[in-house]
Amino acid sequence: MRYALLIYDDIEVRDRTPEEERRRITAAVLEVLARPPVTGWLRLQDAESATTVRREQRRALLTDGPFVDSKDFLGGFVVVDSENLDGALAVAEELQELRPWGAIEVRPVREEPLIGA
Protein backbone atom coordinates (compact mmCIF):
# COMPACT_ATOMS: atom_id res chain seq x y z
CA MET A 1 0.00 0.00 0.00
CA ARG A 2 1.03 3.60 -0.47
CA TYR A 3 0.77 6.13 2.30
CA ALA A 4 1.09 9.90 2.23
CA LEU A 5 2.83 11.47 5.18
CA LEU A 6 1.57 15.03 5.53
CA ILE A 7 4.28 16.98 7.26
CA TYR A 8 2.94 19.77 9.42
CA ASP A 9 5.27 22.50 10.62
CA ASP A 10 4.96 24.93 13.47
CA ILE A 11 6.65 27.95 11.98
CA GLU A 12 7.23 29.73 15.28
CA VAL A 13 9.11 26.88 16.90
CA ARG A 14 10.96 26.15 13.69
CA ASP A 15 12.14 29.74 13.32
CA ARG A 16 13.31 29.83 16.90
CA THR A 17 15.54 26.79 16.28
CA PRO A 18 19.16 27.85 15.68
CA GLU A 19 20.43 27.65 12.09
CA GLU A 20 23.05 25.05 12.90
CA GLU A 21 20.52 22.79 14.60
CA ARG A 22 18.20 23.09 11.62
CA ARG A 23 20.98 22.10 9.24
CA ARG A 24 21.69 19.05 11.39
CA ILE A 25 18.00 18.08 11.34
CA THR A 26 17.76 18.51 7.56
CA ALA A 27 20.75 16.23 7.03
CA ALA A 28 19.24 13.53 9.25
CA VAL A 29 15.83 13.88 7.56
CA LEU A 30 17.46 13.49 4.14
CA GLU A 31 18.98 10.22 5.28
CA VAL A 32 15.54 8.84 6.15
CA LEU A 33 14.08 10.08 2.86
CA ALA A 34 16.81 8.27 0.91
CA ARG A 35 15.77 4.84 2.23
CA PRO A 36 13.64 2.40 0.17
CA PRO A 37 10.18 2.65 1.78
CA VAL A 38 10.15 6.31 0.75
CA THR A 39 9.22 6.52 -2.92
CA GLY A 40 8.85 10.27 -3.24
CA TRP A 41 8.66 13.53 -1.38
CA LEU A 42 8.34 17.24 -1.88
CA ARG A 43 8.71 20.33 0.27
CA LEU A 44 6.43 23.32 0.11
CA GLN A 45 7.30 26.99 0.48
CA ASP A 46 5.96 28.60 3.62
CA ALA A 47 2.21 29.18 3.87
CA GLU A 48 2.73 32.93 3.35
CA SER A 49 3.39 32.16 -0.31
CA ALA A 50 0.01 30.43 -0.75
CA THR A 51 -2.89 31.63 -2.89
CA THR A 52 -6.29 30.06 -2.29
CA VAL A 53 -8.83 29.61 -5.07
CA ARG A 54 -12.52 29.39 -4.15
CA ARG A 55 -15.65 29.55 -6.19
CA GLU A 56 -18.19 32.12 -5.26
CA GLN A 57 -21.19 33.09 -7.35
CA ARG A 58 -19.87 31.08 -10.29
CA ARG A 59 -16.61 32.95 -10.33
CA ALA A 60 -13.20 31.99 -9.09
CA LEU A 61 -12.32 34.02 -6.06
CA LEU A 62 -8.67 34.34 -5.14
CA THR A 63 -7.49 35.06 -1.64
CA ASP A 64 -4.00 35.62 -0.39
CA GLY A 65 -2.78 33.00 2.07
CA PRO A 66 -3.53 29.37 2.95
CA PHE A 67 -7.03 27.79 3.03
CA VAL A 68 -6.76 26.90 6.72
CA ASP A 69 -5.36 29.71 8.79
CA SER A 70 -3.38 28.36 11.71
CA LYS A 71 0.10 28.48 13.10
CA ASP A 72 0.57 24.89 11.91
CA PHE A 73 0.77 24.52 8.15
CA LEU A 74 1.42 21.80 5.63
CA GLY A 75 5.13 21.89 4.92
CA GLY A 76 5.49 18.91 2.62
CA PHE A 77 4.57 15.37 1.61
CA VAL A 78 6.40 12.09 1.83
CA VAL A 79 5.10 9.04 -0.04
CA VAL A 80 5.87 5.68 1.56
CA ASP A 81 5.34 2.24 0.07
CA SER A 82 4.66 -0.29 2.79
CA GLU A 83 2.89 -3.60 3.29
CA ASN A 84 0.80 -2.15 6.10
CA LEU A 85 0.25 0.88 8.33
CA ASP A 86 3.05 -0.07 10.72
CA GLY A 87 5.68 0.47 8.01
CA ALA A 88 4.38 3.97 7.28
CA LEU A 89 4.11 4.80 10.99
CA ALA A 90 7.73 3.72 11.48
CA VAL A 91 8.94 6.25 8.89
CA ALA A 92 6.71 8.97 10.37
CA GLU A 93 7.95 8.24 13.90
CA GLU A 94 11.56 8.33 12.74
CA LEU A 95 11.04 11.69 11.05
CA GLN A 96 9.14 13.16 13.95
CA GLU A 97 11.82 12.10 16.42
CA LEU A 98 14.26 14.25 14.47
CA ARG A 99 12.05 17.35 14.45
CA PRO A 100 11.28 19.18 17.68
CA TRP A 101 8.19 20.83 16.14
CA GLY A 102 5.01 20.10 14.23
CA ALA A 103 3.31 16.76 13.63
CA ILE A 104 2.91 14.19 10.86
CA GLU A 105 -0.44 12.95 9.62
CA VAL A 106 -0.35 9.52 8.00
CA ARG A 107 -3.02 8.89 5.36
CA PRO A 108 -3.48 5.83 3.16
CA VAL A 109 -3.50 6.64 -0.55
CA ARG A 110 -6.80 5.97 -2.30
CA GLU A 111 -5.75 3.70 -5.14
CA GLU A 112 -9.01 2.72 -6.83
CA PRO A 113 -9.61 4.57 -10.10
CA LEU A 114 -12.03 7.48 -10.26
CA ILE A 115 -15.41 6.32 -11.48
CA GLY A 116 -15.54 6.66 -15.28
CA ALA A 117 -11.78 7.09 -15.61
Binding site: M1, Y3, S82, E83, N84, L85, D86, L89, V106, P108
Partner: protein
Protein backbone atom coordinates in the same frame (compact mmCIF):
# COMPACT_ATOMS: atom_id res chain seq x y z
CA UNK B 1 -24.92 -26.13 25.83
CA UNK B 2 -24.82 -24.98 22.21
CA UNK B 3 -24.63 -21.43 23.48
CA UNK B 4 -21.44 -22.28 25.38
CA UNK B 5 -19.85 -23.91 22.36
CA UNK B 6 -20.68 -20.82 20.33
CA UNK B 7 -19.21 -18.42 22.85
CA UNK B 8 -16.06 -20.52 23.06
CA UNK B 9 -15.67 -20.87 19.28
CA UNK B 10 -16.64 -17.40 18.08
CA UNK B 11 -13.24 -15.75 18.49
CA UNK B 12 -11.32 -18.55 16.80
CA UNK B 13 -13.74 -18.88 13.91
CA UNK B 14 -13.91 -15.15 13.32
CA UNK B 15 -10.13 -14.71 13.57
CA UNK B 16 -9.59 -17.44 11.01
CA UNK B 17 -12.11 -15.86 8.63
CA UNK B 18 -10.55 -12.41 9.06
CA UNK B 19 -7.14 -13.88 8.24
CA UNK B 20 -8.56 -15.54 5.15
CA UNK B 21 -10.69 -12.67 3.87
CA UNK B 22 -8.43 -9.83 5.02
CA UNK B 23 -11.37 -7.74 6.21
CA UNK B 24 -13.33 -7.88 9.45
CA UNK B 25 -16.77 -6.87 8.21
CA UNK B 26 -17.39 -9.65 5.65
CA UNK B 27 -15.69 -12.11 8.03
CA UNK B 28 -18.19 -11.18 10.73
CA UNK B 29 -21.12 -11.70 8.36
CA UNK B 30 -19.74 -15.07 7.28
CA UNK B 31 -19.14 -16.18 10.87
CA UNK B 32 -22.63 -15.15 11.84
CA UNK B 33 -24.12 -17.16 8.98
CA UNK B 34 -22.03 -20.20 9.88
CA UNK B 35 -23.21 -20.05 13.49
CA UNK B 36 -26.81 -19.66 12.38
CA UNK B 37 -26.55 -22.74 10.19
CA UNK B 38 -24.96 -24.65 13.07
CA UNK B 39 -27.75 -23.59 15.43
CA UNK B 40 -30.23 -25.03 13.00
CA UNK B 41 -28.39 -28.25 12.08
CA UNK B 42 -26.42 -29.37 15.12
CA UNK B 43 -29.40 -30.09 17.37
CA UNK B 44 -30.83 -32.26 14.58
CA UNK B 45 -27.70 -33.91 13.19
CA UNK B 46 -25.38 -33.76 16.19
CA UNK B 47 -22.30 -31.65 16.83
CA UNK B 48 -19.56 -32.45 14.27
CA UNK B 49 -16.33 -34.00 15.47
CA UNK B 50 -14.37 -30.87 14.71
CA UNK B 51 -16.78 -28.00 15.42
CA UNK B 52 -14.17 -25.27 14.90
CA UNK B 53 -13.16 -26.63 11.50
CA UNK B 54 -16.80 -27.11 10.51
CA UNK B 55 -17.68 -23.54 11.42
CA UNK B 56 -14.64 -22.11 9.61
CA UNK B 57 -15.31 -24.09 6.44
CA UNK B 58 -18.99 -23.20 6.49
CA UNK B 59 -18.05 -19.55 7.03
CA UNK B 60 -15.67 -19.66 4.07
CA UNK B 61 -18.32 -21.13 1.81
CA UNK B 62 -20.84 -18.53 2.94
CA UNK B 63 -18.30 -15.77 2.32
CA UNK B 64 -17.68 -16.99 -1.21
CA UNK B 65 -21.41 -17.16 -1.93
CA UNK B 66 -21.80 -13.65 -0.68
CA UNK B 67 -18.87 -12.32 -2.68
CA UNK B 68 -20.20 -13.98 -5.85
CA UNK B 69 -23.39 -12.04 -5.33
CA UNK B 70 -21.51 -8.81 -4.77
CA UNK B 71 -19.52 -8.17 -7.92
CA UNK B 72 -17.90 -5.01 -6.59
CA UNK B 73 -15.33 -7.24 -4.99
CA UNK B 74 -14.36 -8.76 -8.32
CA UNK B 75 -10.64 -9.04 -7.77
CA UNK B 76 -10.98 -10.71 -4.42
CA UNK B 77 -13.56 -13.12 -5.81
CA UNK B 78 -11.22 -14.24 -8.52
CA UNK B 79 -8.50 -14.96 -6.02
CA UNK B 80 -10.79 -16.85 -3.66
CA UNK B 81 -12.50 -18.76 -6.47
CA UNK B 82 -9.12 -19.88 -7.72
CA UNK B 83 -8.31 -21.10 -4.24
CA UNK B 84 -11.58 -22.98 -4.11
CA UNK B 85 -11.02 -24.54 -7.55
CA UNK B 86 -7.59 -25.73 -6.52
CA UNK B 87 -8.99 -27.60 -3.55
CA UNK B 88 -12.54 -28.53 -4.47
CA UNK B 89 -12.69 -31.54 -2.15
CA UNK B 90 -11.84 -29.52 0.89
CA UNK B 91 -15.29 -28.06 1.31
CA UNK B 92 -16.27 -30.11 4.31
CA UNK B 93 -13.23 -32.01 5.49
CA UNK B 94 -13.79 -33.06 9.07
CA UNK B 95 -10.11 -33.40 9.77
CA UNK B 96 -9.03 -30.03 8.41
CA UNK B 97 -7.18 -28.09 11.10
CA UNK B 98 -6.74 -24.35 11.19
CA UNK B 99 -4.10 -22.36 13.04
CA UNK B 100 -5.41 -20.26 15.92
CA UNK B 101 -5.29 -16.66 14.67
CA UNK B 102 -6.93 -14.97 17.66
CA UNK B 103 -3.63 -13.39 18.65
CA UNK B 104 -3.32 -11.66 15.27
CA UNK B 105 -6.89 -10.44 15.66
CA UNK B 106 -6.41 -9.03 19.16
CA UNK B 107 -3.34 -7.08 18.04
CA UNK B 108 -5.36 -5.69 15.15
CA UNK B 109 -8.21 -4.63 17.41
CA UNK B 110 -5.89 -3.02 19.98
CA UNK B 111 -3.74 -1.20 17.41
CA UNK B 112 -2.82 2.25 18.76
CA UNK B 113 -3.99 3.89 15.52
CA UNK B 114 -7.55 3.17 16.72
CA UNK B 115 -9.25 5.25 19.40
CA UNK B 116 -9.25 3.57 22.80
CA UNK B 117 -13.05 3.24 23.01
CA UNK B 118 -13.03 1.61 19.56
CA UNK B 119 -10.29 -0.81 20.67
CA UNK B 120 -12.37 -1.80 23.67
CA UNK B 121 -15.59 -2.25 21.67
CA UNK B 122 -13.93 -4.21 18.88
CA UNK B 123 -12.15 -6.54 21.28
CA UNK B 124 -15.42 -7.34 23.03
CA UNK B 125 -17.19 -7.86 19.71
CA UNK B 126 -14.58 -9.91 17.85
CA UNK B 127 -12.87 -11.92 20.59
CA UNK B 128 -15.47 -11.79 23.31
CA UNK B 129 -18.35 -12.53 20.95
CA UNK B 130 -20.60 -9.95 22.59
CA UNK B 131 -23.25 -8.39 20.38
CA UNK B 132 -23.11 -4.71 19.52
CA UNK B 133 -26.23 -4.26 21.62
CA UNK B 134 -24.67 -5.89 24.67
CA UNK B 135 -21.56 -3.73 24.34
CA UNK B 136 -23.64 -0.58 23.98
CA UNK B 137 -25.61 -1.49 27.10
CA UNK B 138 -22.45 -2.25 29.06
CA UNK B 139 -20.97 1.15 28.25
CA UNK B 140 -24.25 3.04 28.66
CA UNK B 141 -24.21 4.44 25.12
CA UNK B 142 -27.03 4.26 22.55
CA UNK B 143 -26.92 1.28 20.17
CA UNK B 144 -26.43 3.56 17.15
CA UNK B 145 -23.40 5.23 18.75
CA UNK B 146 -21.72 1.90 19.45
CA UNK B 147 -22.65 0.51 16.05
CA UNK B 148 -21.14 3.54 14.29
CA UNK B 149 -18.04 3.38 16.45
CA UNK B 150 -17.45 -0.27 15.55
CA UNK B 151 -18.17 0.20 11.85
CA UNK B 152 -15.84 3.16 11.64
CA UNK B 153 -13.06 1.21 13.34
CA UNK B 154 -13.51 -1.78 11.03
CA UNK B 155 -13.35 0.49 7.99
CA UNK B 156 -10.24 2.19 9.29
CA UNK B 157 -8.56 -1.20 9.79
CA UNK B 158 -9.34 -2.06 6.17
CA UNK B 159 -8.63 1.32 4.56
CA UNK B 160 -5.53 2.29 6.53
CA UNK B 161 -4.02 -1.20 6.27
CA UNK B 162 -3.77 -1.90 9.99
CA UNK B 163 -1.89 -5.22 10.01
CA UNK B 164 -3.47 -8.55 10.95
CA UNK B 165 -0.30 -9.88 12.53
CA UNK B 166 1.56 -10.40 15.76
CA UNK B 167 3.90 -7.39 15.95
CA UNK B 168 7.62 -7.90 15.33
CA UNK B 169 9.88 -8.09 18.41
CA UNK B 170 10.81 -4.40 18.49
CA UNK B 171 7.13 -3.36 18.61
CA UNK B 172 5.85 -6.21 20.76
CA UNK B 173 6.31 -4.81 24.30
CA UNK B 174 4.53 -1.57 23.43
CA UNK B 175 1.71 -3.29 21.52
CA UNK B 176 1.24 -5.92 24.21
CA UNK B 177 0.89 -3.09 26.74
CA UNK B 178 -1.97 -1.73 24.65
CA UNK B 179 -3.70 -5.13 24.60
CA UNK B 180 -3.33 -5.54 28.36
CA UNK B 181 -4.62 -2.01 28.92
CA UNK B 182 -7.76 -2.74 26.88
CA UNK B 183 -8.50 -5.95 28.80
CA UNK B 184 -7.90 -4.25 32.15
CA UNK B 185 -10.10 -1.34 31.15
CA UNK B 186 -12.92 -3.78 30.33
CA UNK B 187 -12.40 -5.39 33.74
CA UNK B 188 -12.53 -2.06 35.56
CA UNK B 189 -15.61 -0.95 33.67
CA UNK B 190 -17.38 -3.97 35.13
CA UNK B 191 -15.89 -3.32 38.56
CA UNK B 192 -16.80 0.26 39.36
CA UNK B 193 -20.39 -0.04 38.19
CA UNK B 194 -20.96 -3.46 39.67
CA UNK B 195 -21.48 -4.78 36.13
CA UNK B 196 -19.91 -8.13 36.79
CA UNK B 197 -20.46 -9.42 33.27
CA UNK B 198 -17.77 -7.18 31.80
CA UNK B 199 -15.34 -8.24 34.50
CA UNK B 200 -15.96 -11.91 33.74
CA UNK B 201 -15.54 -11.10 30.07
CA UNK B 202 -12.17 -9.48 30.75
CA UNK B 203 -11.09 -12.54 32.74
CA UNK B 204 -12.09 -14.78 29.83
CA UNK B 205 -10.01 -12.61 27.49
CA UNK B 206 -7.12 -12.73 29.96
CA UNK B 207 -7.28 -16.54 30.02
CA UNK B 208 -7.27 -16.71 26.21
CA UNK B 209 -4.28 -14.40 26.09
CA UNK B 210 -2.34 -16.72 28.43
CA UNK B 211 -3.17 -19.61 26.13
CA UNK B 212 -1.78 -17.58 23.21
CA UNK B 213 1.24 -16.03 24.95
CA UNK B 214 2.19 -18.42 27.75
CA UNK B 215 5.68 -16.97 28.26
CA UNK B 216 4.74 -13.35 28.95
CA UNK B 217 4.91 -12.55 32.65
CA UNK B 218 2.65 -9.51 32.41
CA UNK B 219 -0.12 -11.57 30.78
CA UNK B 220 -0.17 -13.95 33.76
CA UNK B 221 0.05 -10.99 36.14
CA UNK B 222 -2.94 -9.28 34.57
CA UNK B 223 -5.06 -12.42 35.05
CA UNK B 224 -3.83 -12.64 38.66
CA UNK B 225 -4.73 -9.02 39.27
CA UNK B 226 -8.23 -9.46 37.85
CA UNK B 227 -8.93 -12.73 39.67
CA UNK B 228 -7.74 -11.42 43.04
CA UNK B 229 -10.11 -8.50 42.65
CA UNK B 230 -12.99 -10.45 41.17
CA UNK B 231 -12.81 -13.05 43.94
CA UNK B 232 -14.25 -10.44 46.26
CA UNK B 233 -17.10 -9.37 43.98
CA UNK B 234 -19.85 -11.24 45.90
CA UNK B 235 -18.76 -9.51 49.11
CA UNK B 236 -18.50 -6.03 47.65
CA UNK B 237 -22.23 -5.33 47.71
CA UNK B 238 -24.95 -6.03 50.25
CA UNK B 239 -28.49 -5.22 49.19
CA UNK B 240 -27.11 -3.01 46.44
CA UNK B 241 -24.82 -1.14 48.82
CA UNK B 242 -21.05 -0.96 48.50
CA UNK B 243 -19.13 -2.67 51.31
CA UNK B 244 -15.51 -1.62 51.89
CA UNK B 245 -12.85 -4.32 52.06
CA UNK B 246 -12.39 -4.29 55.83
CA UNK B 247 -16.12 -4.73 56.41
CA UNK B 248 -16.58 -7.50 53.86
CA UNK B 249 -17.81 -10.97 54.80
CA UNK B 250 -14.75 -13.04 53.93
CA UNK B 251 -16.75 -16.24 53.69
CA UNK B 252 -18.22 -14.75 50.51
CA UNK B 253 -14.81 -14.49 48.86
CA UNK B 254 -14.29 -16.99 46.06
CA UNK B 255 -11.38 -19.09 47.32
CA UNK B 256 -10.99 -20.87 43.96
CA UNK B 257 -10.45 -17.56 42.19
CA UNK B 258 -8.03 -16.43 44.88
CA UNK B 259 -6.04 -19.63 44.45
CA UNK B 260 -6.04 -19.36 40.67
CA UNK B 261 -5.01 -15.71 40.97
CA UNK B 262 -2.14 -16.55 43.32
CA UNK B 263 -0.99 -19.34 41.00
CA UNK B 264 -0.96 -16.91 38.08
CA UNK B 265 1.04 -14.42 40.15
CA UNK B 266 3.56 -17.10 41.09
CA UNK B 267 3.93 -17.99 37.43
CA UNK B 268 4.46 -14.35 36.50
CA UNK B 269 7.19 -14.08 39.13
CA UNK B 270 8.76 -17.34 37.91
CA UNK B 271 8.94 -15.76 34.45
CA UNK B 272 10.95 -12.95 36.10
CA UNK B 273 8.15 -10.45 35.72
CA UNK B 274 8.62 -7.09 37.38
CA UNK B 275 6.30 -4.95 35.29
CA UNK B 276 3.33 -2.87 36.41
CA UNK B 277 0.79 -5.73 36.40
CA UNK B 278 3.06 -7.96 38.47
CA UNK B 279 3.35 -5.20 41.07
CA UNK B 280 -0.37 -4.50 41.06
CA UNK B 281 -1.20 -8.19 41.40
CA UNK B 282 1.21 -8.46 44.33
CA UNK B 283 -0.53 -5.49 45.94
CA UNK B 284 -3.96 -7.05 45.35
CA UNK B 285 -2.71 -10.21 47.03
CA UNK B 286 -1.44 -8.25 50.07
CA UNK B 287 -4.84 -6.58 50.40
CA UNK B 288 -6.44 -10.00 50.95
CA UNK B 289 -4.27 -10.81 53.95
CA UNK B 290 -5.00 -10.04 57.61
CA UNK B 291 -3.55 -7.87 58.99
CA UNK B 292 -2.70 -5.89 55.91
CA UNK B 293 1.01 -5.18 55.49
CA UNK B 294 0.72 -1.48 54.70
CA UNK B 295 4.47 -0.99 54.68
CA UNK B 296 4.96 -3.57 51.92
CA UNK B 297 1.94 -2.17 50.06
CA UNK B 298 3.43 1.34 50.29
CA UNK B 299 6.79 0.12 49.00
CA UNK B 300 5.20 -1.67 46.04
CA UNK B 301 3.22 1.44 45.15
CA UNK B 302 6.48 3.36 45.25
CA UNK B 303 7.99 0.96 42.72
CA UNK B 304 4.90 1.25 40.58
CA UNK B 305 5.11 5.03 40.80
CA UNK B 306 8.65 4.96 39.42
CA UNK B 307 7.58 2.80 36.44
CA UNK B 308 4.35 4.56 35.53
CA UNK B 309 4.73 8.13 36.93
CA UNK B 310 0.94 8.04 37.22
CA UNK B 311 -0.79 10.36 39.70
CA UNK B 312 -3.40 7.62 40.31
CA UNK B 313 -0.61 5.42 41.65
CA UNK B 314 0.59 8.21 43.93
CA UNK B 315 -2.99 8.52 45.15
CA UNK B 316 -3.05 4.83 46.03
CA UNK B 317 0.29 5.12 47.80
CA UNK B 318 -1.23 7.94 49.83
CA UNK B 319 -3.80 5.46 51.18
CA UNK B 320 -0.96 3.30 52.50
CA UNK B 321 0.76 6.42 53.87
CA UNK B 322 -2.45 7.30 55.72
CA UNK B 323 -2.32 3.93 57.49
CA UNK B 324 1.39 4.24 58.31
CA UNK B 325 1.83 7.95 59.10
CA UNK B 326 -1.69 9.22 59.52
CA UNK B 327 -4.21 11.09 57.33
CA UNK B 328 -2.38 14.42 57.40
CA UNK B 329 0.73 13.04 55.66
CA UNK B 330 -1.48 11.40 53.06
CA UNK B 331 -3.41 14.59 52.45
CA UNK B 332 -0.19 16.47 51.72
CA UNK B 333 0.58 13.89 49.02
CA UNK B 334 -2.93 14.12 47.55
CA UNK B 335 -3.04 17.89 47.44
CA UNK B 336 -0.03 17.93 45.11
CA UNK B 337 -1.86 15.84 42.50
CA UNK B 338 -3.87 17.04 39.52
CA UNK B 339 -6.71 14.54 39.43
CA UNK B 340 -9.74 16.79 39.59
CA UNK B 341 -11.73 14.66 37.12
CA UNK B 342 -11.15 11.38 38.93
CA UNK B 343 -13.94 10.39 41.30
CA UNK B 344 -11.80 8.18 43.53
CA UNK B 345 -9.43 11.11 44.10
CA UNK B 346 -12.21 13.11 45.68
CA UNK B 347 -13.64 10.22 47.67
CA UNK B 348 -10.16 9.33 48.98
CA UNK B 349 -9.54 12.95 49.90
CA UNK B 350 -12.95 13.20 51.53
CA UNK B 351 -12.22 10.18 53.68
CA UNK B 352 -8.93 11.66 54.90
CA UNK B 353 -10.59 15.01 55.67
CA UNK B 354 -13.33 13.19 57.56
CA UNK B 355 -10.74 11.36 59.65
CA UNK B 356 -9.05 14.70 60.38
CA UNK B 357 -12.36 16.14 61.60
CA UNK B 358 -12.47 18.71 58.79
CA UNK B 359 -16.14 18.04 58.11
CA UNK B 360 -16.86 21.02 55.84
CA UNK B 361 -13.96 20.20 53.53
CA UNK B 362 -14.93 16.54 53.60
CA UNK B 363 -18.48 17.43 52.62
CA UNK B 364 -17.23 19.47 49.64
CA UNK B 365 -15.00 16.60 48.51
CA UNK B 366 -17.79 13.98 48.79
CA UNK B 367 -20.05 16.28 46.81
CA UNK B 368 -17.45 16.58 44.05
CA UNK B 369 -16.96 12.80 44.00
CA UNK B 370 -20.73 12.33 43.68
CA UNK B 371 -20.86 14.68 40.73
CA UNK B 372 -18.42 12.40 38.91
CA UNK B 373 -20.10 9.09 39.82
CA UNK B 374 -22.67 7.17 37.75
CA UNK B 375 -25.90 5.97 39.29
CA UNK B 376 -25.49 2.87 41.40
CA UNK B 377 -23.89 1.47 44.54
CA UNK B 378 -20.90 3.81 44.55
CA UNK B 379 -23.22 6.79 44.40
CA UNK B 380 -25.30 5.46 47.31
CA UNK B 381 -22.14 4.82 49.33
CA UNK B 382 -20.96 8.41 48.88
CA UNK B 383 -24.41 9.74 49.71
CA UNK B 384 -24.49 7.80 52.98
CA UNK B 385 -21.02 9.10 53.91
CA UNK B 386 -22.21 12.60 53.13
CA UNK B 387 -25.32 12.11 55.26
CA UNK B 388 -23.12 10.96 58.18
CA UNK B 389 -21.32 14.30 58.09
CA UNK B 390 -24.40 16.49 58.35
Amino acid sequence: MLEQVFRAEWGRVLASLVGWLGDIEPAEDAAQEAFAIAAERWPREGVPGNPTGWLIMTGRNRAIDRIRRDRTLAAKTEQLERELRDRPEETMDETATFPDERLELIFTCCHPALALDAQVGLTLRTLGGLSTEEIARAFLVPFETMSKRLTRAKHKIRDAGIPFAVPPDHLLPERLDAVLAVIYLIFNEGWGGGRVDLSSEAIRLGRSLIELMPDEAEVHALLALMLLGHARSAARFRGGDLILLDDQDRSLWDQRQIEEGREALVRALALHGSGPYVIQAAIADLHLQVPRDWEEIGLLYQRLERITSSPVVTMNRAIAVAELEGPQAALVLLDALELDDYRYYHSTRADLLRRLGRDDDARAAYTRALELTHLGPEQRFLESRLADLS
